[in-house]
Homo-oligomer: 212 residues x 2
Amino acid sequence: MDFQFPAALQELMEHLKGLPGIGKRSAERMALAIFQWDEARLAAWSENLRTLHEKVGVCTQCGNLADHTGNGLCYICDSPVRDHSILCVVEEAPQIRVIESSGEFKGLYHVLGGRIAPLEGKFAENLNILSLEKRLQETPVREIILALSPDVEGQATAVYLSNRLQPYQVRITRPARGLPAGSDLTYADAATIAIAMNARVAMNETGDSTNE
Amino acid sequence: MDFQFPAALQELMEHLKGLPGIGKRSAERMALAIFQWDEARLAAWSENLRTLHEKVGVCTQCGNLADHTGNGLCYICDSPVRDHSILCVVEEAPQIRVIESSGEFKGLYHVLGGRIAPLEGKFAENLNILSLEKRLQETPVREIILALSPDVEGQATAVYLSNRLQPYQVRITRPARGLPAGSDLTYADAATIAIAMNARVAMNETGDSTNE
């Protein structure tokens, strides 16, 4: 006979179990901790969840997450100090965060909303490609970086986009591939080694990453 | 420059970071997952948090977690098949769950609400001892099991209670101590080994756990 939690606490555990990486035990531990919170803290979180979709939306230009309070643009599209003539195309909005953390990219983004994956029923027409073409038509863009995942579907999508965007006469690039920074060569996989050896860079010249 | 999440998403991450075992990265991952949930699921969780303290309270008899919808008793105190003449005293309500999972105890519980810890400002008068004495006066109880943690403060509290409850002429016991079931003797700590060797049980007699 298992211990029965009160119904509302049981329901709270079910919600928590829906979160990524949270199992039965963690959900129980969290629910008991939440039950100890004071009324104000519970009310604040409750209100936050209730109004989440009202307050947070997607940027009308690039598809990044954006406050609904502003002019519809995310803080990156809205920034005057960013280079509006370089677009970095990513699959999903959370990937923008990863690229921003490098501090290396100063342009704008465009969120595709996935990649071409016929087995999952995702085709080119399900991606935000028309809106990307519209941006190319409306504003002067000199480079598009296709920052898609270096796997089969990501690369197929990159090749498709690269062909489709040809008419716009814009420079199309992709991030370099090779050994990850700070990694141990001992544990590198064969495919990565092959790419890294092939695209090797001379050490007594200025290394340029446009080698393919 | 770090990536800026929209304000409401940032707030959601702060709430999640307040949960036990959740750091910055997990909170971000969870918040992005929650953002993908549909309106109905967010509304249900919001309502659940808002009404949690209304719907869940503590049992008026033993202090266990209880639905506020019933007669004020938890499902254990309310059960006619449990043995109402044995009380198991625990420090906190979640410990009831652990004892119930063994399936070995069929009596009722009493939640102390902590243990005597003068350094933390917890004294006997801060614990639910008066309500325990009231139960002893009002209903026939034949045994009290002091299931307190086997550490210094838990045992000090057990000794205090054992003395204080002497006038009630009730059998007072505590769970046996020794090697945990399924454990490897190699990794047992010295204190546990000492207790286990001292309280050793003959294998050719019927082992009785009342050995001290």
